[in-house]
């Protein structure tokens, strides 16, 4: 965890209950550390609306060192998200967001995301599914 914490912009949630969807469909989430979620704030590099899981490629800066790390975080499947109004246009490169991430147990900059918010803390709540925005 020591390597991870260098990149964490906000405090780890500890035992706080995390609102939001945890991707779990076609396989187990065993590779992610579900017991130690972290909050990441960063800039969207790419929003991949693909199966079996969507991915947010997120550039996270360490405010102390200026070091930038690109995270690849896995989320829900396209069917579930589309039914809730998400589309390939919901996030765009340059968007500033905050996500809750259960990191890879290995310490590599990857994980499983949920609870996507804009940088002001407001939840990303897309419109009902009706094709691309």
């Amino acid at each position: 965890m020591s390597r991870l914490t260098r990149y964490i912009c906000l405090a780890a949630l500890g035992g706080t209950v995390v609102a939001g969807h945890i991707a779990r469909a076609h396989h187990s989430t065993a590779i992610y550390d579900n017991e130690h979620p972290v909050e990441l704030a960063g800039t969207v590099v790419e929003w991949q609306f693909v199966n079996p899981h969507t991915f947010i490629v997120l550039e996270v800066s360490n405010e102390a060192t200026g070091e930038k790390v690109v995270w690849s975080v896995e989320g829900g499947n396209t069917a579930g998200l589309f039914r809730r109004g998400w589309t390939p246009n919901t996030l765009k490169p340059g968007d500033r967001i905050i996500v809750t991430v259960r990191p890879l147990r290995s310490g590599a900059p990857g994980g499983n995301y949920s609870n996507v918010r804009w940088s002001d803390g407001q939840p990303v709540e897309p419109r009902p599914a009706n094709g691309p925005e």
Binding site: R24, S28, I31, S72, A79, L104, R105, S106, A108, G110
Partner: protein, 278 residues
């Protein structure tokens, strides 16, 4: 004139009668049992564990000692970050019976000769033959197996209301769910199902699995809810963006952004492709 019309009418009548007498009568159409309307989008009710209530409530699966130990070994590996005992993680189809957990919705298309069970999960189709055929001499194994079904009219109202299915010839590797409950390596599983619509909005599949990894036939009753709002079908192509790669016994997280295979467990080296020679 009057006599001419009478003769013509008699001639017509005699022709009609002769025609009727010489044409064999149409056989009376047999009473046709109607097929049920199971159309629509059916979504899973209950857990993704094979036991719909989950193992905490339903108790542990009836595994032989060998497969119970194997499940524990898989659990220990998962705690380290290895997706052991969960074949769909690499985009293999779930196969039978796991596909019937319906992680994603299903659609049932009924024709007299075949009933198709379409699962959004991996865009898989189960083809259930209801044309009265017998088992073929050889079944080419497939993940969903070879299914023969029979319709039943349980309440005798002239409409089929239950589809029984037997499935054999199922290919592996397969697991019941993502908790390491795997089916026997011999892939000689036999699965018997009874599908009924138990009310307007609920379909039930009573599924009995006979497999050498089990101490006894394992029956579960999975249910599906008829979706009526926001019904959309979304294609599912697992290979499109899967990041989970198994090389030998090692699992990696495919980091498309850095072009590396990142470790999933502590102490596992990251694989970085060698630079192409100049």
């Amino acid at each position: 004139m009057r006599g001419g019309r009478l003769r013509a009418a008699l001639a017509l009548l005699s022709g009609v009668l002769a025609s009727a007498a010489c044409t064999p009568p149409e056989p009376a159409a047999p009473a046709q049992t109607r097929y049920p309307d199971w159309s629509g989008q059916w979504a899973r009710i209950g857990s993704l564990n094979w036991e719909p209530e989950g193992y905490d409530k339903a108790g542990p699966p009836p595994l032989t000692e060998e497969y119970r130990q194997r499940r524990e070994e898989y659990a220990a590996l998962r705690a380290q970050g290895v997706l052991a005992g969960d074949p769909p993680a690499t985009c293999l189809p779930p196969g039978m019976p796991r596909v019937m957990t319906m992680a994603f919705p299903m659609e049932i298309i009924i024709t007299p000769a075949t009933t198709y069970v379409y699962a959004d999960w991996e865009s898989q189709v189960r083809r259930v033959y209801t044309d009265g055929r017998d088992w073929p001499d050889y079944i080419l194994p497939e993940f969903n197996g070879y299914s023969i079904g029979e319709w039943h009219d349980e309440n005798g109202d002239g409409e089929y209301d239950m589809l029984s299915i037997e499935t054999r010839g199922i290919k592996g590797p397969r697991s019941f769910d993502s908790t390491g409950v795997v089916l026997h390596d011999n892939n000689e599983t036999v699965i018997r199902e009874e599908i009924r619509r138990i009310d307007a909005s609920t379909l039930e599949d009573k599924i009995t699995t006979i497999d050498a990894a089990l101490t006894e036939p394992w029956t579960v009753q999975r249910r599906y809810r008829l979706e009526t709002e926001n019904v959309v079908w979304v294609e599912y192509v697992c290979a499109e963006g899967n990041r989970h790669l198994k090389l030998g016994d090692e699992w990696y997280f495919v980091n498309q952004e850095t072009g590396t295979l990142d470790p999933t467990r502590a102490g596992q080296p990251r694989l970085v492709p060698e630079a192409a020679p100049p």
